[in-house]
Symmetry: C2
Subunit: 494 residues, 2 copies
């Protein structure tokens, strides 16, 4: 790396490197494209309505996952920090770092959130450990048409933090270190479809945030790219329709977080095109929420984080709440040749992540909330109605319980339209399980008059927003994928 | 302010404050709105096509501005730093701060930009002074229909940094300190239309970045709100159609930056709906540009910024390039009762800000560039083809000159489709003048095959992007307003 003093960047004095991945004019024979591909949304809807795939039957997916799990023979064991290989506590800061300087670090963060109408009201402040990984990773799903229907190439992938070790994952999950090695040979299969994608085959390609409570400003590139080429499918991969994946999204801990977030970004149809609030109103409300929140976040040395204590095997909150930093050793079968150690973040308790929902004049709406998380790049994002771990609030009086939590937990089965346990990214989080729910609001007063910070929006509106980054948080994106799955199931079974 | 330790913010335990500005259901009598108001774009287009206003004739605007200028009798004088009242150099940091802790500060920033295909290529690093003002301000234009045509309420506003002191400005320019005082009486006229706007009257409401070379992560809320109420118009204000404002945008230093950026955010029609690259491709290209840039920005004490030297009246770059930090005293007529001192940033030299343009299959396109600026919240934004001050590059060999700068400067009049000198925000920048140009690309090779980091996009595509924040930088937004003005002029004069 060469450092030199250069002019401020409004006036870059050298051309940027890399090449434009977008087709350019040749010989002036310019043709225009429609700005919006309406057929694409229709093709995706057809895939969602197709519950029988051209390759693997839906009922064979779980046995296949079992079989891949058995073949891998993966073992994940908790270890003490001093058993970590290649990872260490940095002397001056106490941060957890890899000897190569690559991968991620566990550091500290100090958050001051001024609330009130315009960030000038009451304030709360806390410190916590946080994962920092400033590079942009790729989460990519490859799509291809079989028998006239789009199928998506899913991978049976092991991640040490998954409660069941192996789940259905995107075609590609790659850190920048992975994909820049693509130039000189890489172990990330099929990365070439995503590294410099054919612009005419991009279905979606957008930067999205990840958990703002556990990550410091983490962003991944969520991509879906179609191919018309022959694809040699390795044995841990299979082609599934969106309808099949929708079925599998009703099962616990089967479709991993990375797959769910990419699925939530796929463009959808909205033939009705109506909602309680117009898109301009929705965005204006969101602008108001961003304006009125004032979040000041400062990175800290992990060693100086207040309210957390370090042991030989864990760094944990003094009252045992929120999460622990732990370490694991990973080992696979002889054939897999995997063996490494790494730190993980292990949340305390089973989370509850839920949308309240109701139909308004025949159109389904969900109750979104503008939530500030310390690790967000920009103040707030749209979040689920409820996003909480009940145990973290057990010490608080009833009045301080998370809004709507009781309503969601007490809902009779007849009002629960969707329910499954999903886990968060298994490469960073250990057993990070949450009950994902879509619950009919029924006669709850909020159905008519939501409290400040909450707003009714349609899934189609959220879907439009996932075409851009930093609007919809990762938990809401999982629920959006579940809402799509609910709709697909209905359609597929007609 | 009460500080207390609280749970990480994914699980907020208290309801947020403030009230939802969006209408809620009453008594279950829910009606849906169309998500997209197509009539609104048509009404804005009608206003753009209307070059005769219902109130003031266009040719009377400049004399009126002159008259207001004379009435104000404003004087702006350079002073030494030690003549600043209420402002001082903070002892430990050397930062320029206001005694109240309000307004803005001048601090330092250290920027490392790793370039290369994925942020792992050659690197450049620099330090510089920068203005920090973390609060979100409001830039609001009030709209109202007269004789069936939308008019916009513009203010003849003095700002000390304006080369000509007073320019046409939005109805409201308010910092958060201004508008939170709205509760207890404020001197910001007409703020109530924007503070908690009637959601059914919001035309646009979006957070946009400002100069990333001079501001550290500055964001303002760009708003246009329609009213159907009677408006009592103070004497420094007048109603103009978009067609009239378009005419005035062809004059030098008449429409201020804040007005230009709000105008650039107004929704437009795109009946053709075609472009060289689809919106998905445009966004994918942008995602790739954001992914491949790696910018690391660190705030510094102003006193420790390398490469800049402090005198009694200026803080300037050691080679005299880029800009100076200076101080001014402002004084108005007895009637105006204004009198204060403040620091300003004064750029060195006249800037050149230009779009190359061409028609592709009959549709106008402009050559956008993904540019990294140290003060951006998120790596890169879409910027003009050229954004440079020639003098800052005079010491560099021809090969290191900004791309396309010579092409823009050497263009014969026949290829210059738009030309005017505009100045940047006069509340922070002194005589920050730039030649804004739209130049026909002609037979330039880039017309067919733009270099890496550049892409052809339509003004309508940029207009869609200004509906969201952090896509289009403020210089490109000014040019977008100028492109709208070019189109409006054509239409209005048919």
């Amino acid at each position: 790396m060469t450092l030199r003093h250069s002019p401020p960047p409004a006036e870059p004095d050298a051309p940027p490197h890399g090449t434009s991945p977008v087709a350019v004019l040749e010989g002036g024979a310019a043709t225009l494209r429609p700005r919006h591909h309406r057929e694409l949304a229709a093709r995706l809807a057809l895939s969602a309505a197709t519950t029988e795939g051209a390759h693997m039957r839906t009922e064979d997916v779980q046995p296949w996952l079992e079989e891949r799990r058995a073949a891998g023979d993966f073992h994940v064991d908790r270890i003490a920090f001093d058993e970590l290989d290649q990872w260490r506590f940095e002397e001056t800061t106490g941060n957890v770092v890899h000897r190569s300087g690559r991968f991620f670090t566990v550091e500290g963060m100090d958050v001051v959130e001024r609330d009130g109408p315009y960030g000038d009201g009451p304030s709360r402040r806390w410190q916590q450990p946080v994962i920092r990984q400033p590079e942009v990773g790729i989460l990519g799903i490859l799509a291809k048409e079989f028998d006239g229907v789009l199928h998506f190439l899913m991978q049976a992938k092991m991640e040490p933090g998954n409660p069941n070790v192996l789940q259905l994952s995107p075609t590609v999950q790659a850190t920048r270190s992975n994909y820049t090695r693509a130039h000189r040979g890489t172990d990330v299969k099929l990365i070439d479809h995503f590294f410099q994608p054919d612009p005419d085959r991009v279905v979606v390609d957008v930067l999205q945030s990840e958990q703002g409570s556990w990550f410091y400003r983490k962003t991944n590139r969520n991509m879906c790219v179609e191919t018309v080429e022959e694809v040699e499918v390795p044995e841990d991969y299979c082609w599934l329709t969106l309808g099949q994946i929708a079925d599998l999204l009703h099962a616990d801990e089967t479709v991993n977080m990375n797959a769910r977030t990419v699925l939530s970004c796929l463009p959808t149809e909205d033939p009705d095109g109506r909602a309680l609030h117009s898109d301009t109103q929705l965005l204006s409300w969101f602008t108001g929420e961003r304006s009125r929140h004032d979040i000041q976040v400062r990175r800290l040395p992990l060693a100086s984080v207040e309210g957390w204590k370090q042991g030989a095997e864990t760094i944990e909150h003094e009252e045992g709440r929120y999460f622990r930093v732990v370490a694991v050793a990973v080992r696979g079968s002889n054939r897999e040749r995997v063996s490494w150690t790494q730190p993980l973040i292990e949340p305390v308790g089973l989370g509850v992540t839920a949308f309240l929902t109701r139909e308004i004049a025949g159109v389904r709406h969900v109750l979104v909330r503008a939530v500030a998380e310390g690790g967000f790049l920009d103040t707030v994002e749209f979040a689920p109605t409820v996003q909480a771990t009940p145990g973290n609030h057990a010490h608080l009086p009833a009045a301080d319980q998370p809004l709507f939590l009781d309503h969601v937990l007490d809902a009779p089965d007849s009002r629960v339209l969707y329910r499954a346990v999903h886990s968060e990214e298994g490469g960073r989080f250990l057993n990070a399980r949450s009950r994902y729910l879509v619950v009919d609001a029924g006669e709850h007063p909020a159905a008519l008059d939501p409290p400040p910070g909450f707003l009714w929006a349609t899934p189609a509106q959220l879907s439009t927003l996932t075409g851009h980054g930093h609007y919809v948080n990762v938990e809401a994106r999982t629920l959006l994928a579940c809402l799509h799955a609910m709709a697909a199931g209905t359609r597929g079974r007609k």
